[in-house]
């Protein structure tokens, strides 16, 4: 076991670091820490640059615009981009969910049509999975798709869809056979968000900003050629999407947590309570050490999972704990930051410390244990699928 980069990996990392430094937007590192919705313009420009430099879709087949590179390169990419706090690629959903799903289950025509524009950022994707009545119990979803000639007619409502407000396409899970048992009778569709009958409404969350959206489908026509996999066989396609959503998160989350920890150290050195630096308070010091330990436990577990994936080709069970551990660690870290601020922690505006940065992230962290698989569902998955305990339902 070697925790150092191989020579190829080290070269890739060094080249990437240099490229990022030379290509970040002007004045990017001096910008105010503005939480909330991503800067769409910056993201689109950045996506194009990444694509042109060959950094988009690193593990995707070269035939479809990818680099055919090993997973370790993708892990390095996510680490370096997060450390540099670079803009996000506008195609997070496309890169992380829609694309891998189409690669696994799509027809050749679908791969040729949809994959490259994801990488370049020309086409943006959103996800249509959760519904007000179907969250953890996704298979109980009710958005209906009824066959009419050479199209499906879709009616229903989806919720918690990020990017829907700017998306060109949607990966949509629908019910095509209401009489079948609930997991069998679902169909996975690729929906043009510019179709008649598609309505997007922003969803305001506890942080005050509308990061997510609701999508309403009123008699939306979707060509039959936009089915991914077979009709009524959409559940397994959806499972591929969710596996990738949880899988690719690992390294990006670790890097983000590392950035937050470094910011917390900076805060602790800057702030004083009753004449003493927070960084000199023994309880704060112990809390920070615990967060450092949690970060490295996450980072190393990801390496172990990556090593397993690269040697066996199949993800191992260690991967199932990454999101669960990260979400709870991030909640503890952001809360510790408020502890460091002390009585001033309630102030989140112009006269606050760091302009409301920590208040935003602490509130936002309450969603981490709910999104992309609730902690309760993840614990069920570990218990049932990893440890073989009897099903709870």
């Amino acid at each position: 076991m070697d925790f150092r980069d191989s020579p190829t990996e080290a070269r890739f990392r060094a080249d990437l670091r240099e490229w990022i430094e030379n290509n970040l937007p002007d004045g990017w590192s001096e910008r105010p820490a503005k939480p909330g919705r991503m800067d769409e313009h910056a993201a689109r420009e950045w996506s194009r640059k990444l694509f042109d430099a060959g950094y988009a879709g690193l593990t995707w087949p070269e035939k479809y615009g990818g680099a055919g590179a090993p997973y370790s390169h993708q892990a390095i990419f996510l680490e370096e981009v997060a450390r540099a706090e670079a803009p996000e690629h506008i195609g997070i959903i496309g890169l992380g969910m829609a694309g891998p799903t189409i690669i696994s289950h799509g027809t050749e025509d679908q791969k040729v049509r949809y994959l490259r524009p994801i990488l370049s950022g020309e086409e943006v994707w959103c996800q249509g999975f959760s519904e007000p009545g179907a969250g953890s119990d996704l298979a109980s979803l009710r958005t209906r798709a009824v066959r009419d000639g050479d199209a499906f007619v879709v009616n229903g409502q989806k919720v918690w869809s990020s990017f829907a407000h700017i998306a060109d396409w949607c990966i949509l899970v629908t019910r095509t056979d209401p009489d079948a048992p609930k997991h069998a009778g679902l169909t996975y569709l690729l929906v043009d968000m510019n179709s008649d009958g598609v309505e997007v409404r922003p969803l305001r969350q506890v942080t005050g900003d509308p990061e997510f959206n609701e999508i309403f489908f009123n008699d939306v026509r979707v060509p039959v050629s936009n089915v991914v996999g077979a009709v009524d066989d959409g559940w397994k396609v959806a499972m591929t999407t969710l596996l990738h959503e949880r899988g690719t998160l690992g390294f990006a989350l670790t890097a983000r947590l590392e950035v937050q920890l470094n910011k917390l150290l900076k805060l602790a050195r800057e702030v004083s309570v009753n004449g003493r630096r927070a960084a000199d308070d023994p309880l704060i010091r112990d809390g920070i050490a615990q967060r450092w330990i949690e970060l490295h436990a996450l980072r190393l577990t990801n390496y172990r999972a990556l090593t397993k994936l690269m040697t066996d080709g199949v993800p191992g069970p260690e991967g199932s704990i990454a999101k669960l551990h990260w979400s709870e660690s991030n909640q503890r870290l952001t809360k510790l930051a408020l502890d460091v601020l002390g009585p001033r922690a309630q102030l989140d505006g112009a006269d606050s410390i760091w302009g409301g940065y920590w208040q935003y992230h602490q509130l936002r962290s309450r969603g981490n244990t709910i999104e992309a698989g609730t902690s309760e569902i993840l614990r069920n998955i570990i218990a049932e699928r990893v440890l073989g305990l009897p099903k709870s339902r």
């Binding site: 076991m1 070697d2 925790f3 150290l265 602790a268 050195r269 960084a279 000199d280 010091r285 112990d286 920070i288 050490a289 615990q290 450092w292 330990i293 949690e294 490295h296 436990a297 996450l298 190393l300 577990t301 390496y303 172990r304 260690e318 704990i321 669960l324 551990h325 309760e376 614990r379 069920n380 570990i382 218990a383 049932e384 990893v386 440890l387 073989g388 305990l389 009897p390 099903k391 709870s392």
Partner: protein, 352 residues
Amino acid sequence: MLRSEARSWLESKLPSERVAEIADSGAGWDADVWAQMAALGWIGLSAPPEAGGAGMTFLEEAVLFEEFGRALFPGPFFSTVGLCLPALEAAPELCGRAAAGEITLALAWAERPGPLTLFEPGDYGTKAVRADGGWTLTGEKILVPDAGVVSHFVVAAGTAEGPGLFVAEGAGERSSTMDSTRAFGSVRFDDASAVMVAGPQEFGGLLGRIRLRAHCALALEAVGVAEAALVMAVDHSKTRSQFGRPIGAYQAVSHQVADTYMDVELARSLAYWAAWCVAEADPGAPAAVAAAKSFAAEAAVRACERSTQVHGGMGFTWEHMLHRYYKRAQWIDAFDGYGHAHRTVIADSLLP
């Protein structure tokens, strides 16, 4: 593979009934088992061939520390191999005898009223003075692991020029210890003849190396202990039924088990990384080892506590093995100070 070999050997030589027997009798070890281990080459695994060892690295030993934790090995393995081997680098003849299973050793550093830990500077009341071309030791040491079992002691003592490390034969006295598979004890020296293995120049560096290696060994042991507790919890929750269902079907039970799995894997990641850092003498080793020791020990304690809870009344009996694992987890957690004492190393490196 060393791991599977060790696991099956330990399962056959030291099944849980035998471990319980050794623990309850106060014997502290099984001399026969120890001799067989020596024959397998496990005691001197990382010692150089010239000193009777197999010339392997800490990474191979790491496997043994973890498996010995899983088996709740009763005997001076951590004491001799985990704590004392580095001190014997300067005494290859003694090292050879240890590797052959002829002698066993424990590190003796703590005194009343202090110092208590390997972190503290050596202002020792136990003194070593030159005599007849060698040295003699006088003083008393407390909190010596396996004191009642071992034949020899590696002793931290003060000399006129500063602290040094010495090896002497001794007869320790066992102290009643929560974990009776590895009881502490005390040892007195009255002009006992001793060999110096580190003088004042080498003392600090050697003690630092011993400390890093020992803490890392305990982290690996803790992973083994935690995993054993997890396996028991998983088995019990699949087989025990109440209200017509196996209790693992109830999320209040299964989620505790899932949390233990997560704890074990995170601890394992930290312990393996720390072992690599120690083997490579990586500059990041002190922080890595502090992280591993504090987290893995606490994870092992939580694993045993949750496993006890999952076992219900049975988990609270003397007869069930769990309490023995729990006491070992607590032994590890207490060694050289609980978690926050080790996390200070990390805090000091992040926020000087």
